[in-house]
């Protein structure tokens, strides 16, 4: 247990970041209109694709004779890239669609 507490003390900087980021995350999307719920979800989905960085590190550190690490790491890189690329492209397509549909709707709103 003292081991664990020690570890927390060592990483207190990270823990502060976590707490602040929770508030930033909540603040930043607090007033999103409901039409944007799905694109926002998709955009957030693309952003958590940062796991790919972990996958790259795993892959880059794997020893040449450690086949388990090589194979799983490679798979992780592929899946992570899918998440990033697919996520951003799908979000972009969604928003493209919204642009066409939303312009008149937005005009209506300002007209009211």
């Amino acid at each position: 247990m003292s081991d664990f507490l020690n570890w927390i003390t060592l990483h207190q900087q990270i823990i502060y970041i976590v707490i602040l980021m929770i508030f930033v995350g909540i603040e930043v999307i607090g007033r999103v209109p409901s039409v944007l719920h799905t694109p926002l979800m998709s955009g957030a989905n693309a952003i958590h694709g940062v796991v790919i960085i972990g996958a790259i590190i795993v892959m880059g550190k794997a020893e040449h004779d450690n086949y388990l690490a090589l194979i799983l790491g490679f798979l992780a890189v592929v899946l992570g890239t899918l998440n990033v690329v697919g996520g951003f492209v799908v979000t972009d397509r969604m928003l493209e669609m919204f642009k066409g549909k939303n312009k008149p709707a937005k005009g209506n709103k300002t007209g009211h």
Binding site: V28, M41, G49, V51, L70, G73, V77, L79, L82, V85
Partner: protein, 326 residues
């Protein structure tokens, strides 16, 4: 330099999310976040160093990225507009699987590192044989993060795949009597096994205080046991992810996907914890927090409560809170 890149990456993520929540700037926000992501990935590949050593296996890394880019791009471009949500769910599952694989590799790394060095005696001649010193064989904190990443990533992966299957009609609603009870039991079992695993690891180590040397060195059976525990947790998590999503109705799927999305965010943040990587940490926690709020907002837009949607497994909700806190 890499620190600066990661800082820029983190800022673009925050900015991107902010702009995504406004119709006028949403598309630009997405591009900004994507730019930050590319920067962070390239920075990691070329500049990342650990103990002065750069990353290797460039062929594998670029090969993986190339394959992922081509498939991801084509899949995202080809998908029909109506099938977008299921695509998001699928990509989310990929992210969860990625976090899951990272945890598995890192666990094996942790275990192999110590089984291959059977001779621990040199610790006794270490520099600090006066005063008090504790050397842990398996760092419990690190193991905790690895297991947390495994559980959340796996649940998100399995759940997203089921959600994807349900949205495109391959998997039908399925529920049976007592399923909620079963779900809660499985979840408790996962939490129990994980706590036991971390506790067990924290018991091993060498403590030197004064001239007294207290050793609790892990032996062969210890490693067999923690491996068994680890993979049991893995299998139970798959099971939980599947049964968590199965009973939820098709119309509620977007809410569940959003929830799983925030799970994956937390799983990514676990990776950030593990590697002391700020951009993974900020990106992951940001999505974890924003995703949770978004889930609640989506429920509100449907005039329902989250508990109502998740009636199949109320416990899943608590995992997010606990995970985000960790």
């Amino acid at each position: 330099m890499l620190t600066l890149i990661y800082l820029i990456g983190s800022v673009t993520f925050i900015l991107g999310l902010k702009m995504l929540s406004n119709p006028a700037t949403a598309r630009r926000g997405n591009l900004i976040a994507a730019g930050g992501m590319v920067l962070a990935i390239l920075g990691t590949i070329f500049l990342y160093e650990e103990n002065g050593e750069k990353l290797g296996n460039y062929g594998w890394i670029f090969g993986g990225i190339a394959i992922g880019t081509v498939i991801g791009f084509l899949a995202a471009k080809k998908v029909k507009m109506t099938a977008m949500p299921e695509m998001v769910s699928l990509f989310n599952g990929m992210g969860g699987a990625c976090a899951m694989l990272i945890s598995i590799v890192e666990f094996n790394h942790l275990v192999n590192l110590h089984t291959s060095h059977v001779d621990y005696e040199w610790f006794a001649f270490g520099p600090a044989n006066r005063g008090s010193l504790v050397i842990s064989i398996i760092p419990a904190g690190q193991l905790f993060i690895i297991v947390l990443g495994l559980i959340i990533g796996t649940v998100s992966f399995a759940g997203s795949i089921v959600a994807w299957g349900k949205l495109n009609g391959k998997i039908r609603d399925f529920s049976f009597k007592g399923q909620q009870v079963l779900n809660i039991i499985v979840l408790l079992l996962i939490v129990g096994l994980a706590s036991y695993l971390v506790w067990k690891a924290s018991q091993t180590g060498i403590e030197i205080s004064g001239f007294a040397l207290e050793k609790n060195l892990p032996d062969e059976s210890f490693f067999t046991e923690i491996k068994f525990l680890f993979y049991s947790i893995f299998i139970l998590s798959i099971f939980y992810g599947v049964f968590f999503v199965l009973p939820i109705g098709g119309a509620d799927m977007p809410v569940v996907i959003s929830l799983l999305n925030s799970f994956t965010g937390v799983a990514a943040a676990c990776g950030g914890f593990l590697y002391d990587n700020k951009v993974m940490l900020t990106g992951g926690i940001l999505v974890g927090a924003a995703g949770t709020l978004l889930t609640i907002l989506m429920c509100k837009a449907m005039n329902r409560s989250l508990a109502n949607v998740l009636i199949g497994s109320f416990g899943g909700n608590k995992t997010t809170a606990g995970g985000a806190g960790g």
